[in-house]
């Protein structure tokens, strides 16, 4: 499993994601510059957290039109895996790879805290080593993390078992306590919490590692220390 991490001006979790994938999990990982028109030889693309293009206009609104994102959309449509974390989730929504949008937190404040999030389904390439109902301890750090979608979309997400993570204590006003959703074909996942900041016990939790280990094929998971 080869990983690529897209870097935009203002990305700031790109190196954290690189560290987890390359150093902690020991997988081939490369950066993809936002101006690159091709992703190269990667199986899973990570859109990292940060403040791409200064969050100008709306979070993710400018990044979504970068050349690399065009390639990411093609990769996703061809069935390739895409993981969007925080700003990455916002970008995936703006790019219409995921439904809905992330708007200003209900309390208007930037929230930086540890959260308990519940794994709602293991039927995805991003949660398959977890068990349903498992509580993960992951940090959040965002001002625009309130998930919004029209009621019929929320109903569809529920019906199709596409809410992968829910907050135990909703920190931002997200509809239906949604912390992370996948697309219809389950190969694109966006979440506001930061699994890459919680993949080593030294950092206070290694629950985030389960998300990355889920992505690895079975024979590779067995090889992870």
């Amino acid at each position: 499993m080869k990983f690529g991490i897209v870097q935009f001006p203002g990305s700031n979790c790109d190196q954290d994601a690189y560290h987890v994938l390359a150093d902690v999990l020991g997988r081939p990982t490369r950066y993809i510059w936002h101006k690159d028109t091709r992703l190269g030889d990667v199986d899973c693309v990570v859109i990292p957290g940060g403040f791409s293009f200064g969050d100008y206009l709306r979070t993710g609104a400018i990044a979504r039109f970068s050349p690399a994102m065009k390639a990411v959309v093609e990769h996703a449509n061809a069935g390739g895996l895409v993981l969007g974390i925080c700003n990455g989730f916002q970008i995936l929504c703006e790019a219409h790879l995921l439904p809905g949008a992330l708007i200003r937190n209900r309390g208007l404040k930037f929230v930086c805290d540890w959260m308990r999030v519940r794994v709602e389904t293991t039927n995805s390439p991003f949660t398959n080593v977890c068990h349903t109902g498992q509580i993960l301890r992951l940090p959040i750090a965002h001002c625009d993390g309130c998930y919004f979608a029209e009621p019929q979309i929320i109903e569809q997400l529920r019906r199709e078992d596409r809410v992968l993570l829910r907050y135990c204590d909703n920190p931002n006003g997200s509809v239906d306590d949604i912390a992370g959703i996948c697309n219809e074909t389950r190969n694109v996942f966006g979440l506001m919490p930061h699994p890459e900041r919680a993949s080593e016990r030294l950092l206070g939790s290694d629950d985030g590692r389960l998300i990355f280990e889920s992505i690895l094929p079975c024979h590779e998971t067995a090889a992870v220390n």
Binding site: A61, E94, R106, L108
Partner: protein, 79 residues
């Protein structure tokens, strides 16, 4: 010519900024204000093209980039 674009959060979308401004106005003594919603105004300088062409262009720009139809609605005028 110039385009003036107003982007507002949809009625169905929570506008915590508007609510906070409403509370501030109320506590300052500005009574009788029922609702506040906060949006964005953009001014765009244009050159060339007929008004109809510019209208089409701005409408497309609003739909694709300047607003997010999932959460916002827009109006604009070209003067």
């Amino acid at each position: 010519m110039k385009a003036k674009i107003i982007v507002m959060p949809k009625r169905t979308v929570l506008d915590p900024q508007g609510k906070t401004v409403l509370h501030a106005l109320d506590s300052m003594g500005f009574k009788g204000i029922r609702e506040v919603r906060v949006g964005t105004v953009m001014e765009i300088e244009l050159e060339g093209g007929s008004k109809a062409e510019l209208q089409k262009k701005i409408d497309e720009a609003c739909h694709k980039l300047l607003s997010n139809p999932v959460i916002e609605e827009y109006t604009f005028e070209i003067v």
